[in-house]
Amino acid sequence: MLRGTPFHSRTSALCEGQNWRRWAGYVVAGSYELTHEREYYAIRTTAALIDISPLHKYRIHGPDAVRVVDRIVTRDASKCAVNQIMYTPWCTDAGKVLDDGTLWRLDEQTFRLTAAEPNLHWLLENAIGLAVEIEDESDRIAAVALQGPNSREILKLISDTDLDTLGYFRLKRAAVADLPAIITRTGYTGDLGYEIWVEADQAGRLWDALMAAGRAYGILPTGILALDIARVEAGLLLLEVDYVPARQAEVASQTSTPYELGLGWTVKLDKGPFIGRQALAEQKRRGLKWKFVGIEVEWESLERLYWEFGLPPQLPTEAWRESVPVYSGRQWIGYATSGCWSPILKKYLAMGHLRAQYAKPGTPVKMEVKVEHQRKQAAARVVKKPFFDPERKRA
């Protein structure tokens, strides 16, 4: 059965548009107002409060915690300092990505791993015989993301810690609204932002305190439709949308390795054995057939296609998530998996999988667009991700 998150009593009172979406067995707001536009701008220009409780969370604790984690993820967990967070994928033996998430080091012997998919069984299986306890904390911990340029000022008002010294991808234990919490400098928006993690039964109080503190700073409860645009602008992958997790693939050709997803930087081949290492080393040697790239559709080309029908370009108002063919000349060279019109950049963006020889930034390609019911091809270019990367994200 679908259920509400620990914030449901608050979010449901605010969700005027009754626009609910499912996420990992929960319902969360798609948008609070009738359209998600203001919420998108809150992420980029003021502050957005986003319920992210449905994420899976696992606690890995014990003398062998580093060994277990290192065996699973592709990053080097032994290099993860206490209070540091690493973004990482993890793979099958064949090097195919199972999932991706964040790995936090809470102390020498304790990690938290966040994941899009349930991973308890995978963790337990790989911990057999080792001195660790693994706890599924998913339901016990509630989380909200506070994202946007005003997020720091708001959080300062109600937390007892020095946020100016909390670096990007670092965490701090703090009291937030007098509740014991963990603040992480993370997010899915590519903007300045934090995520705040508390015990589920205290979720309501956290929400109220954040909303009250944020009022003078333009805080808006924000749904996942707005988030989806921000994450495309930030060039961040989404499981089941931009890649098929290895466990769900019907055939091997649907799966991807971290290299093929542009996550080569997360693969530490020389850190010692981990699941998928051999296959990944082999692929690195042989070279890639596919790459995951950023694509920018050229405005002038869109304008021309629509002009033939006497129309101004019709732009998607939501981020789309479907497979769209990409061509070079007449040849099919791959497919885009997500895309959106970026209101800030004034650009039509997409991300997708292209044959490696077409993946160099600057390569001209063509992406299919539907114009007045007809399939057309718009001129586009391969570009670097992230599309939008403001200094404040790390500052």
Partner: protein, 534 residues
């Protein structure tokens, strides 16, 4: 000549158009120097903290016409530009009633229905026609204007293309509407469609903004259309507020310009364009310094450029006459307020979405026409038309937490006030504005922490806008397209070789658009190797 040019180009004036031209020239590899008279960039597109903690968009306050191609080509988002759409327009009416047009079509229809069921149904149809008209006219805006009297085959070809476009793509009934729009008054044009007074009033106000005209003056229908041309993301008629105020637009363009290598000097007042043998060689600053360049581009209005900076002896006398006749009298003022709390409009909740869009005080056509009547006879309007936004309700960083700034654009305040502007007149004008607003939001007087009043005279003194005209010249038909700024001189060139215009006085005109700036740069670059010759 004998002088070695220091730069490929000098741009006079750091308004957003001058900055845009400089950025495009430098992006194309030219060595560019930009000179701004004030100690701050932006011209009429400027944010200043006049009262500590409160940031005013001192003059212009919303963006609509800013070209998305400029945002893309100069990568303005990377240089910090973020524009938030403003989506509603709220008109308070006497007695606590109101009319709000929302972003949601059906909500708007229901709201108009309260005032007139007839108008509620026609409103979307009118909107469609306007966006079709705006689209019909838009190609004119994106291209450098052809000169119909020219015998140059290229120009004639472009004009023919335009003619063909009108013949092919505009249905006949649209063509008639376009002719009406070009000639009628906005009030007459709207009378053909609507019956509701408040609706007509708020719609007609865009036909008089920035003009020295009333809603019953012919030509104002076109000005309304000009405002429909603003687009955000290909959506016509949307307005936005730049985070950080309109100064953020100029700052982001300046940042882009610097990234391409433009050298920017502020507090550099150009006194003269150095001209020898009909050719611009450089500029002389007020300090006496002389700087030489291959091209000189003026982002300053034509009166200043040709009647002050260039010695008249270098210009043909009929051209000087045209420039003298160029209508530029300003008729708008600006009041910026720092507020301890939001204005509470009678009949509506103290806070709400109606405060996050436009607030338009001008409840009827008659009200607007009377406001103009005052100005016609040399007085400021006793009950003026007010176009208000509360920037801090959209971007709280514009004011200290919980406090607000309010931007009030006021019409009319004629530059040539009877007896002239002085401190007492300025304050009396400010009082008229606040008194008018207080009729609808009684708490406003007590909420005011600081007030800045700008008359057209102040706009001239502070921003260097001749006669305080907000568009560097009125947007009336005889001053648009190939007639802007003077017949025969619309392609950014001037009678002085190597001297160009790039400000809002050039095609396609005023507003925060960067369009004249961009088109001027492209035109200058196109002819770089072959300097213009007659």
């Amino acid at each position: 000549m004998g002088r070695v040019p220091h730069y490929d180009a000098i741009v006079i004036g750091g308004g957003h158009n001058g900055l845009t031209t400089a950025a495009y020239l430098a992006k194309a590899g030219k060595q560019v120097l930009l000179l701004e008279r004030r100690d701050i960039l932006g011209g009429a597109t400027v944010t200043e903290e006049i009262y500590p903690g409160f940031k005013y968009s001192v003059a212009s306050y919303v963006v609509s016409l800013l070209r998305p191609d400029v945002i893309r080509e100069l990568k303005l988002a990377e240089h910090g530009l973020e524009i938030v759409p403003l989506e509603s327009s709220f008109s308070p009416l006497p007695g606590g009633d109101y009319l709000v047009r929302w972003a949601d079509r059906d909500q708007t229809r229901r709201e108009i229905y309260r005032h007139s069921p007839h108008d509620a149904d026609l409103y979307p149809e009118f909107g469609r026609l306007m966006s079709q008209m705006a689209r019909a006219v838009k190609p004119l805006i994106s291209m450098a204007p052809p000169d119909p009297t020219s015998l140059n085959p290229k120009e004639l070809l472009e004009l023919a293309k335009l003619g063909r476009y009108f013949a092919r793509d505009l249905e006949q009934e649209h063509f008639y509407s376009l002719v009406k729009l070009m000639t009628m008054s906005v009030a007459d044009f709207l009378d053909e469609w609507f019956e509701s007074e408040p609706l007509k009033a708020v719609m007609s106000s865009s036909g008089i903004i920035g003009t020295f005209l009333g809603p019953r003056s012919p030509g104002t229908a076109y000005v309304m259309l000009h405002h429909f041309m603003g687009e955000i993301d290909g959506v016509f008629r949307a307005w936005g507020f730049p985070r950080g105020g309109t100064g953020a637009v100029a700052e982001s363009i300046a940042s882009a310009a610097r990234s391409y290598g433009v050298e920017i000097r502020t507090s550099a007042d150009v006194e003269q364009v150095i001209v020898k043998k009909g050719r611009a060689l450089g500029v002389a600053l007020e300090s006496g310094e002389e700087i030489y360049a291959r091209r000189v581009v003026s982002g300053v209005d034509p009166k200043r450029t040709f009647l002050k900076l260039v010695d008249e002896s270098h210009l043909p006398s009929d051209f000087v006459e045209d420039i003298r006749r160029f209508r530029i009298q300003g008729s708008s003022g600006k009041v910026n307020l720092a507020l301890s709390e939001l204005p509470h409009f009678t009949g509506l909740p103290a806070d709400g979405p109606h405060l996050r869009g436009f607030i338009s005080v001008g409840p009827s056509i008659e009200y607007l026409e009377r406001a103009y009547d005052d100005a016609k006879y040399g007085a400021f309007s006793r009950r003026p038309y007010l176009d208000i936004v509360i920037p801090s309700a959209i971007d709280p960083a514009m004011a200290p937490p919980g406090k607000h700034v309010m931007s009030i654009f006021v019409q009319h305040a004629p530059y040539n006030l009877n007896g002239g502007w002085n401190d007492a007149q300025r304050e009396a004008f400010g009082d008229a504005v606040v008194d008018t607003l207080a009729e609808f939001a009684p708490n406003i007087k007590d909420a005011i922490l600081h007030r800045q009043v700008l008359t057209p005279w102040d706009l001239e003194q502070v921003m260097g806008l001749t006669e305080g005209n907000i568009f560097q010249g009125e947007l009336s038909l005889h001053q648009l397209f190939f007639l802007r700024p003077a017949a025969g001189w619309a392609r950014y060139r001037t009678p002085v070789k190597n001297l160009y215009l790039c400000g809002s006085a050039a095609h396609p005109g005023g507003g925060i658009s960067s369009a004249p700036g961009r088109l001027a740069a492209l035109e200058i670059l196109k002819n770089w190797s072959k300097p213009w010759s007659s």
